[in-house]
């Protein structure tokens, strides 16, 4: 997969099939982008486990923060990477170790070599996108802010 663009169906499948997300690089500060994304995804029914060595042991939005991905108990469906492109490499390898099904790198984060390794191991990869924006775009909510969702539908669809 070339990862220049993703079909709506590809993104939709991922968002529908995931329940638990480990967010690596989650911030305890409520005005940081990662906090926004965590809060939004929680509101949409996802379980989001924060991973951040700096905030390990702290509670973020009602969830215990872990120092590393390996320490997260239980199953992790998707690893959401809020770190830079270089750091995304080793984190992807940890995600493969953790038997996650999806590696999702945030806006501005792109690591083609890591993506190739993940796909080789059978994981799905999304790079340079935000799950909050994609969820909002596909559900129609993004249009509420004046954004071009690129979605045209005459179906009577449920919001959120």
């Amino acid at each position: 997969m070339l990862h220049h663009s993703y079909s709506d169906a590809y993104i939709r499948d991922i968002l529908r099939s995931v329940r638990t997300i480990a967010m690596v690089g989650a911030s305890p500060h409520w005005n940081r982008p990662s906090y926004f994304v965590m809060k939004y995804l929680q509101a949409k029914g996802f379980t989001v486990i924060p991973v951040n060595p700096v905030a390990a042991g702290q509670e973020i939005l009602g969830e215990q923060t872990y120092a590393t991905l390996a320490e997260v108990p239980g199953k992790v469906d998707m690893v959401d990477i809020f770190r830079n492109s270089e750091a995304a490499g080793p984190i992807t390898d940890e995600a493969i170790e953790k038997a996650a099904r999806v590696v999702w790198m945030q806006i501005g984060v792109r690591n083609d070599a890591a993506a190739a390794r993940a796909e080789e191991a059978g994981l799905k990869v999304v790079m340079n996108r935000c799950p909050k924006i994609e969820y909002a775009r596909l559900s129609g909510e993004l249009g509420w802010s004046g954004a071009n969702s690129g979605v045209i539908s005459s179906r009577r669809r449920r919001i959120g």
Partner: protein
């Protein structure tokens, strides 16, 4: 043109973009949410909205569901990332400069603009400490030289009021980007059906939606569309989008919202604090108007071409300024940037000067004598005796509105009727 983001034709986008059946009732057309405020689910959801952490509505000054549909509709038509609807075209221009400029800053604007824009730019904007430098957009060297260290944008109008001159958008966009500033294009007289400035390198597009977009002369409005491509954080020139915003607890708009930065800021700060929101009713009317935009523009340009050709042959007419005519210096440029037609607004000179001009507009039976453009109805104006009356003859000529100049906005009536009306009006002026 289908694109990765919008793989649909412009006719489909015009009818559907931004709208889908109401989930609660199944209502097919966009409901008119004639409401000022919205009930919160609970305090937590309320604070989440106020913090910009989730999507939803708080107060119609900041956002409204009917207005949102129009914003997405026009963003999609222009191929942009997002849009902010405003009370008027002037308000959209105000919003753009408010977002990009601080007191003491400058912007470079084309000399050929709608007169109202010139007044807003050169007089009223001074009160905010914003300086406007006017240049001839056809003189690329002068344009390049005019962009100084305090410049935050280049602004052009294409086609330009009143004579329909076309700007060479590609090199102008390059000049803007070389200087690290965005190019803003007022595309009111074109509409995305005839020209999509973002495809030629522009970063922002403004419209007076009052004109062709709503198309029926019944709804005042404006809109600012963002391509989402400009990197506001590449330098420190655009602090409102790249630096911490105190009103939102220190978040940086581009960092938090990516290519939606200007769209979100435009609502959360621009509309919130300037208050120039589009009325839901006007958005409702404009949405309906947009549905037929491609059809209407087709007829507008068909009629305008026929009327321009008729006038060019008429003995009472000294010249016609319309880029759809081979005699126009902008003919080739129009074929490049606006292959479907050079718009429907143009000027012509009537023999007999000021007095003849006055007589022509007052003799029309079908064309409406008023100050507007982009209506289903054909409109006629003699600027020298009305909108540009306060200027000296020199200033009028410089603005393309000399004493003998008449401006037409050709409507969608039967073209023979439009031509016949002009013919009898010209005869009345000559007698």
């Amino acid at each position: 043109m289908p694109s990765p983001k919008n793989p649909y034709g412009i006719e489909t986008l015009a009818v559907h973009a931004g709208a889908s059946p109401d989930p609660t009732t199944g209502a097919r057309t966009t409901p008119l949410y004639q409401t000022t405020s919205y009930v919160f689910e609970d305090a937590d959801q309320a604070s989440s909205l106020f913090n910009l952490q989730s999507y939803g509505y708080v107060y119609t000054r900041i956002g409204n569901p009917t207005v949102s549909v129009l914003e997405e509709r026009i963003a999609a038509l222009e191929g942009g990332r997002g849009a902010i609807a405003t009370a008027s075209g002037h308000a959209a221009q105000m919003l753009a400069m408010f977002t990009l400029l601080s007191p003491g800053d400058e912007f470079v604007a084309a000399r050929r603009l709608y007169g109202g824009s010139i007044t807003q730019f050169t007089r009223t904007f001074r009160k905010f400490g914003w300086n406007c430098v006017l240049v001839d957009p056809d003189d690329l060297e002068a344009l390049r030289a005019a962009v100084g260290p305090k410049c935050k944008a280049i602004f052009v109008e294409s086609p330009a009021n009143p004579g329909g001159a076309i700007v060479d958008l590609e090199p102008v966009a390059d000049i803007a980007h070389d200087a690290g500033v965005p190019l803003i294009v007022d595309s009111t007289m074109a509409t995305p059906c005839l020209c999509r400035p973002l495809e030629w390198g522009a970063d922002l597009v403004v419209h007076s939606t009052t004109k062709f977009l709503s198309g029926h002369g019944n709804a005042l409005g404006g809109i600012l569309v963002d391509s989402g491509r400009f990197d506001w954080s590449a330098t420190d020139r655009f602090p409102s989008l790249s630096q911490p915003e105190a009103a939102y607890h220190g978040l940086r708009f581009q960092e938090t919202f990516g290519d939606l930065a200007l769209t979100v800021h435009g609502h959360a700060v621009g509309l919130r604090d300037l208050g120039a929101a589009m009325a839901p009713m006007n958005a409702f009317l404009t949405i309906t108007g947009c549905e037929t935009l491609p059809l209407r523009m087709e007829r507008h340009v068909q009629n305008a071409q026929a009327v321009a050709e008729f006038l060019e042959r008429h003995p009472s007419v000294s010249r016609v300024s319309y880029a759809g005519l081979p005699s126009s210096p902008y003919y080739e440029r129009a074929r490049k940037y606006m292959p479907k037609g050079a718009g429907a607004v143009f000027t012509f000179g009537v023999r007999g000067g000021y007095e003849a001009g006055l007589k022509v507009v007052e003799a029309c039976e079908i064309l409406s004598h008023l100050a507007n453009i982009g209506d289903t109805r054909s409109l006629i104006l003699h600027p020298a005796s009305t909108t540009h009356r306060q200027l000296t003859e020199e200033q009028q000529i410089a603005a393309g509105a000399g004493p003998d100049v008449i401006r037409l906005s050709v409507g969608i009536e039967s073209v023979d009727d439009i031509i016949r009306d002009l013919d009898q009006a010209l005869a009345a002026a000559a007698s």
